[in-house]
């Protein structure tokens, strides 16, 4: 009986770890391996790292050339910077739009609150691709938006709203807004409204109360929301593919092209690995310094 219980507990605790190893670490290790291998024509389109030739010698096919190549070509760095700037801009916009919404939802009466939360989650019931396509329809030359602006007499010719980086930002903000709102809501709903009264009573105007009490106390929610938006947007390639034009190239799309258009898996893998490295290192440093700051200040 006891051993059974132990077994049950073991599975309960370690299932997530198995999942993580099977579907995250092993694929990541494979990508890492490919990123150091030599490209060739064939299937798969790269040489095995360890080969035994006809005379029975071991041959090690390892190269750092893929990395050297992507770092030597400014094109890749530029696409990465484009993606970072897209992620930064859209995270900021999501925060500015999402914070008041999260605050409003968190502070409304429980009945209305649940309704509002459902409204926030409803878009997830439709395919993400479909929702991005919908924007295509809305924004195109003879789309609703253009037609409306023409009918109202603001413009005479349809604007080209689609296929530029503004359309990409719009699509990203639209798609990722709930990922900002939900963690913010999670922190704000726990916020004790009497703290606002208390600050007010102690001589604090509304704006000061926001910056000195509400904002510091919702900082963990802000950070969680920003992470949830920023990190996936850096690698986002579907939205730029559907709504973006040739004015800006994004990192996710470059990786996709290297994999499926150029069929250069080693370079694509090297790009993916560098992307992860550049993203993870700053985040880990930030997390560590933030938890230190938290420890000292709270």
């Amino acid at each position: 009986m006891l051993s059974k219980l132990k077994n049950y507990k073991f599975w309960f605790v370690f299932t997530p770890y198995f999942w993580l190893v099977a579907f995250f670490f092993i694929p990541l290790a494979i990508i890492l391996k490919i990123s150091f291998s030599v490209s060739e024509w064939g299937m798969p389109p790269y040489k095995d790292i360890l080969e035994i030739n006809n005379s029975g010698d071991f041959i090690l096919n390892i190269t750092s050339g893929n990395y050297a190549f992507i770092f030597s070509d400014f094109f890749y760095l530029k696409s990465y910077l484009n993606s970072l700037s897209l992620a930064f801009t859209s995270t900021l916009i999501c925060l500015i739009i999402g914070y008041p919404i999260a605050f409003y939802v968190a502070k409304s009466k429980p009945k209305i609150r649940n309704l509002l939360l459902i409204l926030l989650i409803i878009p997830f019931w439709t395919s993400f691709l479909l929702r991005v396509y919908a924007w295509k329809v809305l924004l195109q030359g003879n789309g609703i938006l253009n037609l409306m602006l023409i009918k109202l007499g603001f413009i005479s010719e349809p604007l080209s709203l689609l296929y530029n980086h503004y359309a990409v930002i719009l699509g990203v903000v639209y798609t990722y807004l709930p990922f900002m709102i939900l963690p913010l809501y999670g922190y704000l709903v726990k916020f004790d409204l009497r703290l606002i009264d208390a600050a007010n009573d102690l001589g604090s105007r509304k704006i000061n109360t926001f910056f000195k009490v509400i904002l510091p106390l919702s900082l963990p929610g802000i950070i969680a929301g920003c992470m949830l938006v920023f990190i996936p947007v850096v690698g986002e390639f579907v939205i730029p593919e559907l709504l973006g034009g040739s004015d800006k190239l994004y990192f996710g799309k470059i990786i996709w092209d290297e994999f499926f258009v150029n069929r250069d898996w080693p370079v694509a893998s090297a790009l993916a690995m560098s992307g992860i490295l550049f993203l993870i290192v700053p985040i880990v440093i930030f997390q560590m310094s933030y938890s230190k700051y938290n420890f000292k200040n709270e």
């Binding site: 004790d192 009497r194 703290l195 009264d197 208390a198 600050a199 007010n200 009573d201 102690l202 001589g203 604090s204 105007r205 000061n208 000195k212 009490v213 510091p216 106390l217 200040n297 709270e298």
Partner: protein, 356 residues
């Protein structure tokens, strides 16, 4: 009335269709420790929030120290409130919590430091300055909340159920500390509480509220001995309410009941009920030979006995009435022999009867 320190004039407030305050007027003197007492939903907290400036009254005015503060926003009012939950800022340490209000007033650094350390000494919070709020005890949190208000030297301090979150022992100790502090600083205190014992022991004067109105204002003795109505009589302490009939002999009015209450009534009073507090009734074991005085006494049967150490509670049944008798256990041990179902003689002075 307008020259009183705090004057609340005909204040009304409704939430949706529920009247929280119905034309309330109240005058509070300087340096007074005043309690607003009532059960939950009586409007006492709404009144406090209106004084603090968190709610706007639908009608009526509020004057503090001769100044009309009705339209003054909360952050400009020269008063502070201590919340029941304390509402301390969890992201600030003890000394930053206390200094918060002074920083908001943009006082210079030196003065903020001086005043903060002064109040930290006064409230015995030394050594806790750098602690987080969740690292100190409930009693310490209560003192930080108090310090955060007092450091601003308010003209008026509002306390919302200040002792409700403390355990019983600490509550009694803190009660005395609060009274001493109020006496020492001379700041006017308004305390909101639902605990009648707390209100009695703390206040100079108190107001009893029910359904958005003030039923009675007075000092604890007046409220206990001379309640305005049956509700107050029952709300404060234990009350024996007895129906009385009025009758006339020659040119005098008499009020009496089947319980043997007999008092002369000089005017034509309309009272149909009277109050006798349980501690004002004497009981002794009934003895066959002892003749009892007809007036203001009765025979009864003991239904319940509860020995509480310093006194004993008896529930007595007499005719159609059940009433309480509290007898102090001051070394007169004969009462201790009174048991269930014993027949007892009850008696009281005429002065113990208060007509409602």
């Amino acid at each position: 009335m307008k020259d009183s320190f705090l004057y609340i004039e005909n204040v009304s407030k409704s939430f949706d269709d529920v009247k929280a305050l119905d034309n309330v007027s109240l005058a509070i003197n300087k340096s007074e420790l005043f309690s607003l007492l009532g059960s939950s939903g009586c409007g006492k907290s709404t009144l406090l929030r209106i004084i603090a400036g968190f709610e706007k009254p639908d009608s009526g005015k509020i004057f503090l120290d001769g100044e009309d503060i009705t339209d003054l926003p909360a952050y400009k009012r020269p008063l502070n409130i201590m919340f029941q939950s304390y509402a301390l800022f969890p992201h600030l340490n003890v000394s930053n919590n206390i200094a918060f209000g002074l920083k908001e007033d943009r006082l210079d650094k030196k003065e903020i430091e001086n005043r903060t350390s002064e109040i930290i000494n006064l409230l015995e919070l030394k050594g806790l300055e750098k602690r987080k709020i969740d690292e100190i005890s409930g009693g310490q949190q209560q003192r930080v909340a108090l310090a955060r208000c007092l450091v601003k030297k308010p003209k008026l301090l509002l306390l919302d159920e200040p002792l409700a979150a403390l355990d019983k022992k600490l509550r009694i100790q803190t009660q005395f500390e609060l009274v001493n502090l109020q006496y020492k600083l001379g700041i006017t205190f308004i305390i909101v509480t639902h605990d009648q014992e707390e209100a009695m022991s703390l206040s100079d004067r108190m107001a009893i509220m029910q359904e958005g109105s003030i039923l009675q204002i007075g000092n604890p003795v007046e409220v206990y001995e001379k309640p305005n109505n049956e509700y107050i009589a029952k709300f404060i302490g234990t009350a024996n309410i007895i129906n009385i009939q009025k009758h006339q002999t020659k040119n005098n009015f008499f009020l009496s009941s089947e319980l043997g209450i007999e008092i002369e009534s000089s005017e034509n009073k309309l009272s149909s009920k009277c109050l006798i507090r349980p501690e004002k009734i004497n009981i002794t074991k009934s003895t066959m030979d002892k003749k009892i005085n007809q007036e203001n006494s009765c025979k009864g049967i003991v239904k319940e006995v509860a020995y509480l150490g310093s006194y004993t509670k008896y529930l007595i049944q007499s005719k159609s009435y059940q009433f309480y008798v509290f007898q102090t256990n001051n070394f007169i041990s004969e009462n201790l022999n009174i048991k269930w179902d014993d027949v007892v003689d009850c008696s009281w002075n005429k002065e113990a009867i208060f007509l409602l």
